[in-house]
């Protein structure tokens, strides 16, 4: 196992780290699905307020997505513009 230098190790660890960082996508996925389900329920109950519900849903989804985006950002950073290298 000669020839494995420090940067190689960092790259390998970064790839694993990027994979782990994308686990953050689970939370927003569940959250947004739940929110969308609730929104469908709300629209089913009050179809006339579908515009307001949709708007709120989009905002809520964007907020919920933030953590996922952070995870994605860390993953991309580790893969493409790794600050450790």
């Amino acid at each position: 196992m000669n020839g494995i230098t420090g940067p190689d190790l960092i790259r390998a660890a970064s790839a694993i780290g990027a994979g782990l960082a994308l686990i953050a996508g689970i939370g927003p996925g569940i959250g947004e699905g739940y929110a969308a389900g609730k929104a469908v329920e709300a629209i089913g109950r009050q179809p006339e307020s579908s515009g307001a519900v949709t708007k709120t849903l989009l905002i809520g989804c964007a907020m919920a997505e933030t953590t996922g985006i952070y995870g994605l950002f860390i993953g991309l950073a580790l893969l493409f513009f790794n600050p450790l290298l």
Partner: protein, 236 residues
């Protein structure tokens, strides 16, 4: 994955880089100017042209959005919201013609988020005075003060990162897809790179078009909500 290209460096103040994002920002500005001039060209009292109808539709939509989200007292923000939305949408959509999105640069979204943060604190300061402004950090209870202090930084940071991260993520996925399809095309010896042209276009529609509009809308909505939340509500 590459950052914006540096075209040249102005040799003052230790070198100011003129990069792709800045040039594209100017292109977007020019585009906005041209579009506005076309839309409002020879307007009449009775609208006959489709461009005028479109211009009126845009203004009415923005006005309604601002009024329903922020209330009547913040109607002065309507042109700014329009600017923000247009800059963001056009900035994201120029990637459809092969230019680099202006929003794919953290500096751009950070600047917009900082402007929002400035408005948040300026309006909080103006509406409740210096003491009330300081007191607002101890709301709802005094223990929350450190968290609220952190919020000063995290609010613009999360706004900027959300927009930037979405565009960057979309772009990264598109880059990966392009290289993947290029690999598949060369693997099955296609005479023309059909996969590279056809399939990513549909995905690009989602990531660039839908994602761009979505993020622009969300950025504007969050700006409006944050700003209207610090000031006194319409009722009081």
């Amino acid at each position: 994955m590459e950052g914006p290209r540096i075209y040249f460096t102005i040799p003052i103040f230790g070198g100011i880089n003129v990069n792709e994002t800045e040039v594209n920002l100017l292109i977007v500005t020019l585009l906005l100017l041209v579009v506005s001039l076309i839309l409002t060209h020879k307007m009449e009292k009775i609208p006959r042209k489709k461009t005028q109808l479109l211009a009126e539709k845009i203004v009415i939509t923005i006005d309604n959005l601002v009024e329903s989200t922020m209330g009547k007292r913040y109607m002065a923000f309507a042109p700014y919201m329009m600017t923000l939305f247009a800059s963001s949408v056009f900035g994201s959509l120029i990637s459809l013609v092969g230019l680099r999105s202006t929003t794919q640069d953290f500096n751009t979204t950070l600047c917009w988020a900082l402007v929002t943060a400035f408005f948040i604190h300026y309006i909080g300061f103006k509406s409740s005075g210096f003491k009330g402004y300081l007191h607002s950090f101890a709301e709802p209870i005094a223990v929350m003060t450190p968290i609220n202090m952190i919020g000063i930084v995290t609010t613009p940071m999360s706004m900027a990162l959300r927009h930037f991260g979405n565009v960057l993520g979309g772009s990264a996925i598109m880059t990966l897809l392009y290289s993947a399809f290029a690999g598949v095309s060369s693997m099955i010896h296609l005479p023309i790179p059909a996969l590279q042209v056809g399939v990513p276009a549909i995905l690009s529609l989602y990531f660039d078009f839908f994602g761009g509009c979505m993020q622009a809308f969300i950025f504007c909505m969050l700006t409006m909500v944050y700003i209207s939340n610090v000031g006194p509500s319409d009722d009081s």
